[in-house]
Amino acid sequence: MTRKQKRLAIIGGGIGFLTAAVLLVMFAFSQAVAYFYVPGDLAKAGLAPGTRIRLGGLVETGSLKRGEGKTVTFNVTDTLGTIPVTYTGILPDLFREGQGVVAEGAFVAGSSVFVADTVLAKHDETYMPKDVADRLKAQGVALGGKENIQ
């Protein structure tokens, strides 16, 4: 091979690989990311059943049913809407009523219950998921459990 051909082979291979990577990333963005919603948005969102989303809001006070088996149920609310959620497993240490939460999962076809497979309430007493805080603030909801922020 001449010098030019060698260089072409290397550059061509590189460009081919990069193109494949870009296509892969674009495909993954269309398939493998979850959009974030608060309950008030869901009515107009028109999601197809089974679409994976992240649902954020406050855990409605008095809605949490735990201690009766592996599955817990609670409501996520942003005052404009309330969504019942079921989750099988162990809730995070900082999961509380009146506090912010993000649940990841999907609606089962023909049901208004959100089945979560992941529940996040991060490891900080004063933590409110940023997504949740922003949306709630935008809708003028007083945030519970925030008074202990210095």
Binding site: K6, G13, K70
Partner: protein, 662 residues
């Protein structure tokens, strides 16, 4: 008083750094030796000042001086001593001071051990280091002063976030920073090369030990952080593709690429411009990581800083340094002449492939990490990019690289013989497939992809050893000669073999855990049992306990196999009293390389408790492989050519004067 002295030392360090940033460069321009030599002394003084300042802050933590705001916010008089000390960097201000300390520590090392560097290069490198040090010292003094006082002094502190009260966290940030900041030396060398307009194989040889050291520390830091998340958070996961994890992973990937491209440059004088670019990119990713973690743009356990002025300040540092470095690169890169021809199938070709794949993979991680931020800023839409995205992109892209790794060291420089190498690797591939088949038999089946993954891991390990076997001639020549040849091989050959084998070990761990782990969530009352990984766990009951700054409820489990009790597991939930914060302390037992992992959930109204039990097959391989990679880095660092140092310019003037004369 001592606190003010620490504060003052930091101001002095800033002043020293400013001198070190300007004077030596002027000296290098004018050829004034006295001005250039100032760089070394300034670097040492600066390191001593920052070290003093850091010692003062540590002293304040150890003596629980709550008149210092930072101590009050993050410490508690009842905390065990080790966590008082680790609390120094368990918060924003202290961790930035640690960052600076490590930066000036590396500058001091360059000053002390860079005796055989050309003096203009050394002066310029130290000046560039000082630019970074000055920027960060200013950042600390203006926005994140750890020495701010609180008057009147409170009687008791607010305690460190309990999740951070852990031995893993005591070690994790210093290791990670040693890696992150270690790349600053490579960056400074690259900038100095661009300023001087000259670069050669000796340059690559000087940069290599710093890259290796930084890479080794970063490997340790990431592995440590991953293990910490695994046992401390109680979720049983070891990698979450969390933006903060990605922030440390990206410099690692780019640093790995740099390690390999510097090799090509050192041996063959090729890929010069690319190596300089990679050195800049690697440290830029470290700075980006610092920005992501410290500015609070991400919401995560690591985001201590929520003050926007800090974010903007770090962003400014980021823009100035990265933007400046790339502008300089654009202006001056054409001066660096490239050399060294090679065929696509050759050692160089393999290393180019390594670089291509690693940088592309870094780019996908960067895209996945930043895309949600950009999307939110532009459209207000919020998405979460998690494991599915990264597995699909990063995972697939890395696959060809993993297959290619054993080929690299076996290919000859300049022009390699692919078929010959493939034949030599036949044994390694065969061993991989046999092990996978045995695993299939032992596990009574399993997904084909996972088995191929195991085979690939074994191929990597045996392939790495194949290189050593072939080079020493084991099996072809008499044992004593082979032994002599083996012990005569350069240490870097062993380093390469270890690092590549470690990669294989980690891969096996990842594949085994992903494909074969089992997870069970059950309600248990005392006396009930649950099975996992061939073991039976019996729940014996709960017990109350109390630690220095927490109370805990512990569940006791007896583990048996085939009816015989083998060990026991305690798993607990703690409540840290100062912050009223609960944490899960998972119960973990190791069996060979596999682990049983038990974490507790809610107590039931009828007296039972929810228990989550995982069987994690071969999980220790993940971190064990990282340890082997680190060992590879250390062995390679002890290589003779790095110990002895690069040849001086005087010996080979003709070949080294490559750049256009100034």
């Amino acid at each position: 008083m001592i606190i003010e002295l620490g504060h003052y030392a930091l101001v002095l360090a800033l002043a020293t750094a400013l001198v070190q940033a300007i004077v030596p460069i002027a000296g290098a321009r004018r050829g004034d030796r006295a001005l250039m030599e100032l760089a070394s002394s300034a670097a040492l003084v600066c390191a001593l000042l920052v070290a003093f300042s850091f010692a003062v802050l540590t002293f304040a933590y150890v003596t629980s001086d709550f008149s210092v705001r930072n101590v009050w916010e993050n410490s508690h008089s009842l905390k065990p001593l080790i966590y008082k000390i680790s609390g120094v960097w368990g918060n924003h201000e202290g961790s930035m001071l640690l960052w600076l300390l490590i930066l000036v520590f590396f500058s001091a090392l360059v000053a002390l051990f860079g005796r055989n560097l050309p003096e203009t290069l050394k002066a310029t490198v130290l000046a560039v280091q000082a630019w970074i040090a000055a920027a960060f010292a200013l950042f600390i003094l203006l926005t994140s002063n750890p020495f701010a006082r609180l008057i009147p002094a409170p009687g008791e502190g607010k305690d460190l976030n309990p999740v951070l009260q852990d031995v893993g966290l005591a070690i994790h940030p210093p290791l990670l920073y040693l890696g992150y900041v270690g790349f600053s030396v490579c960056f400074s060398f690259a900038i100095a090369a661009l300023i001087e307009g000259r670069i050669d194989a000796a340059w690559a040889r000087w940069v290599r030990p710093w890259t290796l050291a930084a890479w080794t520390f970063l490997t340790a830091g990431i592995a440590m952080g991953s293990y910490w998340a695994y046992y401390e958070l109680g979720w049983g996961g070891w990698w979450f593709w969390d933006p903060v994890e990605n922030a440390s992973f990206m410099p690692w990937l780019a640093g790995t690429a740099l390690l390999h491209s510097a090799l090509v440059m050192e041996k063959r004088e090729a890929l010069k411009i690319w190596t300089v670019l990679l050195a800049i990119m690697t440290f830029s990713l470290s700075l980006l990581g610092t920005f992501l973690v410290r500015s609070g743009v991400l919401t995560s356990v690591h985001a201590f800083a929520t003050d926007p002025t800090r974010g903007i300040f770090i962003l400014a540092i980021l823009v100035v340094f990265i933007g400046g470095a790339f502008s300089l690169f654009a202006l001056r890169a054409s001066r660096l002449k490239s050399g060294g021809l090679f065929a696509p199938i050759s050692r160089e070709g393999a290393l180019v492939l390594n670089n291509l794949i690693l940088t592309t993979a870094t780019a996908t991680v960067l895209t996945g990490t930043l895309y949600p931020l950009v999307l939110e800023a532009l459209t207000g839409e919020k998405i979460s990019v998690g494991a599915p995205f990264f597995n699909m992109t990063f995972g697939l892209l890395m696959l060809p690289l993993l297959c290619a790794v054993p080929f690299g060291p076996l290919l000859a420089w300049k022009r390699g013989d692919f078929t010959g190498v493939a034949q030599r690797l036949f044994v390694a591939a065969a061993v991989g497939l046999v092990v996978a088949a045995v695993y299939y038999y032992v596990m009574n089946g399993g997904p084909v992809l996972a088995l191929l993954g195991i085979a690939l891991g074994v191929f990597l390990i045996v392939g790495a050893l194949t290189d050593l076997v072939l080079r020493s001639g084991i099996g072809k020549v008499a044992g004593s000669i082979a032994w002599k040849r083996l012990s005569g091989l350069p240490r870097s050959a062993f380093g390469t073999a270890l690092a590549h084998a470690g990669l294989g070990v980690t891969l096996i761990g990842i594949v085994a855990v992903t494909a074969f782990e089992t997870e069970t969530v059950v309600e248990m009352k005392p006396g009930m049992t649950v099975d996992a990984g061939g073991y039976t766990l019996r729940f014996d009951g709960m017990r109350q306990g109390r630690g220095p700054n927490y109370t805990e409820e512990t569940g006791h489990f007896t583990v048996s196999r085939g009816g015989v009790a083998v060990t026991e597991i305690w798993s607990s939930k703690r409540l840290y009293t100062a912050r009223r914060m609960p944490t899960t302390e998972a119960g973990i037992r190791t069996f060979g390389l596999s682990q049983l992992y038990v974490s507790l959930g809610d107590p039931m109204t009828d007296g039972g408790i929810v228990v989550r039990v995982w069987w994690k097959p071969l999980i220790l391989c993940i971190w064990g492989g990282a340890l082997i990679m680190m060992a590879g880095g250390i062995v390679s660092l002890s290589d003779r050519r790095l110990r002895v140092g690069a040849p001086t310019r005087a010996k080979r003037p003709a070949r080294l004067a490559l750049g256009a004369a100034e």
